[in-house]
Symmetry: C2
Subunit: 285 residues, 2 copies
DNA sequence: CGCGAAGTTGAAAGACCTCAATTATTGTGG
DNA sequence: CCACAATAATTGAGGTCTTTCAACTTCGCG
């Protein structure tokens, strides 16, 4: 059974069979499908069931007072939509299906039970929310400090890596069902300008985007333009992590030797005596 | 003893004397001072002690490949700098003192113990990280969907409220030790442009900013320009919260009746049968 | 009082937006 | 399977917001 949540959490830790069974159990309590454009959760709601994206693509979004919509995050399979309602009184934003999307519905009580029963799973869930926050920080950097081209390139790199982590997409292609208008709401520019910038990336032979499939032709150059340093995704494959999991995204490697998980602070970690990050094998595009 | 962490967490829950003593204990394990400009934590580090800002002002920051610095968050007294190193392998950004700052050093073991001992305190800490993430989301909205003037106004409103929560500042004035250059790195514009936009706010009689004190002269109009809806800060004062705590920020009320904690989804919550949010008393500026 | 850092201002260039029209693509009913 | 409508993508021209560069002024502090 395809369990993207488990695949994602395995980026952080290794599960024993009991824990793994526990995660599989989580997604068996029911599911629901949402049509494209439908709200999965709306601001102000406080659901009793946690939504886990199983298939499709969703987004967090807010609309400003003057009608400008801003997408705040993408939710790919394996992402939890609303774990915050555990603690916060209500959602402060909408979660919208960007394409037909199905979510597993996890009763809040199940999560609560898990939090009291398994330390390892609790840590994994915590990691998940912290990794989400790290992505959010990078979005702030993108929007505040990068120009349109770099910003677009960065978001494409992010999506590629995140899809690959949950086993979706082949080679350097991933599903890309959203419209340019939606992509422009994510990158904080007009759809007209996005179209022009995207055209630039296309004519430079960096990406292809047709029939809802994004193909990154030249990941190395694109990630240079994006200043994409995957370390912020915190996909650490520690000693706890399964080597087989590591291989799942292993071919996303910059031929220059800057691997997916090698980041700007690799040297710092070495200095701290924790060793350099694992360097996956290089491989042709 | 001034304990800004407790003051902040009391926005979310009420503590019994034992819990309160536990929080006071946390900040008694030692402290350290940092000069302005000094790194409190650097990217790549993985500290054994959690840093809690007790006085001063700090910021999370990242520097892009082309040398552009982006501030990602402000850390006021009561904010935890690096609770993520519990879970993540290493910090993915720097935490820098914007003015002379002192931090309490909380041994990680103390936090761990707290997490296993007190359910209420665990929830409170979790709330704290989720409220931080909510602020981050609003920063993305600000940078992606608001123009320079609105963006600046928004960040000033945020700082005012957050300072007030921990009992700092009087009336509508708060400490504001950062330079315009640093503020421009936060708002994602050049210092030149920031200077002009700030001048506009000043000449319109909305704010005053001199000798490191920010005074918000007309909070109502400023928050209109900012489209500031304080609900995103999740400073819910539930039944668990102490009314005395509520009063601490209670005078930050928009004279029009849109209170500090009333947000766009007030009506939605009502429709869901959970009642309207608590409406603090209105009061003159 | 003098020095360095921070704040302020002007003018011109560049990035991005707006508006509007055109073309391509997708989905649907016959 | 095709025709049609609706949606999405593309392009052009001109305007606005923001940046760049450089000079100048003010402030803080020894």
């Amino acid at each position: 059974m395809y369990n993207p949540l488990a695949m994602k959490l395995e980026q952080f830790t290794r599960f024993d069979p009991v824990e793994r069974a526990r995660i599989d159990e989580l997604i068996r309590h029911g599911s629901r499908s949402y049509a494209r454009g439908e709200n999965i959760i709306s601001a102000g709601e406080n659901t009793e069931e946690i939504h886990l994206v199983m298939a499709g693509l969703a987004t967090r979004s807010k609309v400003t007072h003057d009608g400008h919509r801003q997408l705040i995050a993408f939710l790919v399979p394996g992402d939890l939509c609303d774990i915050e309602v555990f603690i916060l009184e209500a959602m402060d934003h909408d979660v919208v299906a960007l394409t037909d999307t199905t979510c597993a519905l996890i009763p809040a009580s199940e999560i609560k039970r898990l939090l009291t029963e398994s330390c390892n799973l609790t840590r994994a869930l915590w990691w998940s929310t912290m990794a989400d926050a790290a992505i959010l920080r990078e979005w702030v950097v993108s929007h505040g400090a990068r120009d349109a081209k770099s910003r677009l390139a960065h978001i494409l790199c992010e999506l590629l890596v995140r899809y690959r982590v949950v086993g979706l997409g082949e080679n350097n292609s991933v599903p890309f069902p959203m419209t340019q208008e939606e992509l422009s709401d994510a990158t904080g520019m007009t759809s007209v300008h996005l179209n022009r910038v995207l055209k630039d990336l296309r004519t430079e032979g960096l990406v292809e985007l047709k029939s809802r499939i994004l193909t990154i032709v030249d990941f190395e150059r694109l990630s240079e333009i994006a200043q994409f340093e995957p370390g912020y995704l915190h996909l650490v494959r520690t000693q706890r992590a399964d080597p087989a999991v590591a291989d799942r995204v292993g071919d996303l490697v910059l031929p220059t030797g800057r691997g997916l998980f090698e980041s700007a602070w690799g040297s710092a970690r070495q200095a701290l005596g924790r060793g350099a990050p694992h360097k996956p094998r290089a491989m042709a595009s």
